[in-house]
Symmetry: D3
Subunit: 143 residues, 6 copies
């Protein structure tokens, strides 16, 4: 075991109270990169809240059928405050995404048309939201 | 090109009027097994009707995002008589299956319980169907 | 539990004799849409026979490794009359589709060429079928 | 087109300014369930913020390679206020989840051991957090 | 059981000492093609060493979550001389590939640009390698 | 851009002559871990030859349908000396693995039985190999 591996194992043990066996099975050539990602992207404070990152982990685990990840990210999501309702919803949103994507790929939806329609639809919603906002502002100003 | 490869290419050309380029890219060690499967399982008359087999191909292509297969199995399904409505339904059933499976895997549904419930539910439906059948028979006998 | 949830649970229990636990775990925001799909698309009489729809479910479950769905759709397929031979064939067709799609994606098959070849091949088969049909008609007319 | 389909298409057009072509391709047996899910789960205000739901959609699209969904959920995420940094992070978290899950499944990590270790690790972090909190409270009380 | 099935089962039993049950479940229409592929592509001496072919099997099993294949290809890889370090590395390389691909698909990387950059990058490395080689040759000639 | 990001971009540019755009899109929290893995696991000299690692990348790209990875790993495999025949074989082996795994998961093969059979089969092959070796040694000793 190189000095590098020992140092990483110490960091892991400081954070989690142990070095899980699966992490010991990572090849030495992979350990530093994997741990750096886990520490700096998954567990650190970054652009997304930790709860959101773990809910994403649950959703991805469901869509790609990994029981290890479903367990790990559910426990971590709860640690960061996720409720049962939020976990169930992340799972259902992932399911709904898979339904739509499976259908679109199976019927060979024209991508260029899909792209145009999507951009038009989102543009329409933005416009509606702006109009509603202006309407409220006018109303407020009238009082 | 070995004699074997020539013989297989001849069989392919006899059936399709050509040997598509992608089939020429298969390694020689893979060609015989692949063609045997395509000929005897996919294209021959077997337990399942050809239309059903191609609809399965469309559903699998959608769930696993293969545009080659979505195209190929859709053309083949139409050759064997599939309508647009049947193709769209195969795609939607595949999508619905992916929704349910993604959700069940994400929320770590207990498999033993799921198994028990599923067997009970199917047993219940069978019982209902049998009762309805007996009801109809009694009715018919009463006349 | 809202009135809506109660009404849906009643419909489920009327059909299956129970509300399985996994369905109770669906978020309320997802329940109505999921059940509507299951009732109207999967279990109702639609364009495709129920047996075919469940065989598609088995094929998709295999290709995407969902043990819940493999079990559920196998039990449902049997309920709708599928034989062991039909189930095994749906599984093998799904496997063959995955072989072809994996190979085509790995070797980066040119999609435009693949499309042209596929349409030519299917056109050739149609032509052959039409010729055979005309041949038989002439033969029949000659008698 | 049944009355039901017309009513749903009207709802869609009211929200998005149009009925996209891919939605017209959904079989009638699937339309009501699909739209109910999209309206009540994906687009309504539910347990999870809309931005989070769309980021989950992006993550799942990346892990399962759906270019339609990657586009749709990215546009929707931006509509609900997601920044480029948040989108990139959802994509990277999905990638990291896939790395870990691929490794764990490939080396056949013992699930029972993995489960025990994960629960111990999360328990350890909770304990550390509680100690830090008590430490801060004592410090605050001492002043 | 047809003569063909008996002959194949004999070949399997000669090689493995038994016909595993899962192979008996293959439909007759699929058996010959499947066994031909397994014998001529997977187990024969071909372009790639057997150890490499089994390591590929482990990597694919991890990325697509098949516990049967993870087991089978690990046992076969060991039979052909793979070490624990090589197996762990195949698993990690598969994981790293999945990370990169998930990210690239999630952020909708422009494929044309990605292609141009990749070809430029590989061209650059080739040039560097050629320069180093020429440098060494000049050095060797100078002595 | 932090000092860290600049240093990593310099390393990348030194190796590849440029920093590809997709790498610039990685969030800062992910960059160091990702690059460390790419440098130390994928591109360094490790337990597996670089050609083997890139062939694994091609196989995984095919099985999980990533056109970015299929391109990148094919170009890299060629850089490390892979022939067209080796690339085609990696693609076909990946396809064959997906066929078998799809079938086994679809028919719900009993895992415990599968495991026992696999270990017996591999044990049988080992025994045969040992007997052949002893036979050759006896023959050699007899001369």
């Amino acid at each position: 075991m190189t000095t590098d591996v020992k140092a990483i194992h110490k960091e892991v043990a400081d954070m989690f109270g142990q070095v899980p066996n699966w992490m010991r099975e990572l090849p030495e050539s992979a350990l530093s990169g994997f741990w750096t990602t886990m520490r700096d992207l998954q567990l650190a404070e970054t652009a997304l809240p930790n709860k959101t990152k773990e809910l994403i982990g649950i959703a991805v685990a469901g869509a790609t059928r990994c029981r290890y990840c479903a367990l790990f990210h559910t426990e971590a999501a709860r640690l960061f405050g996720a409720t049962d309702a939020e976990i169930a919803e992340a799972a259902a949103i992932s399911g709904h995404t898979m339904y739509a994507s499976t259908f679109l790929n199976a019927v060979q939806t024209d991508y260029v048309e899909f792209r145009r329609e999507t951009i038009e639809m989102v543009g329409y919603v933005r416009q509606q939201q702006a109009q509603q906002k202006r309407g409220k502002q006018r109303e407020a100003a009238a009082h």
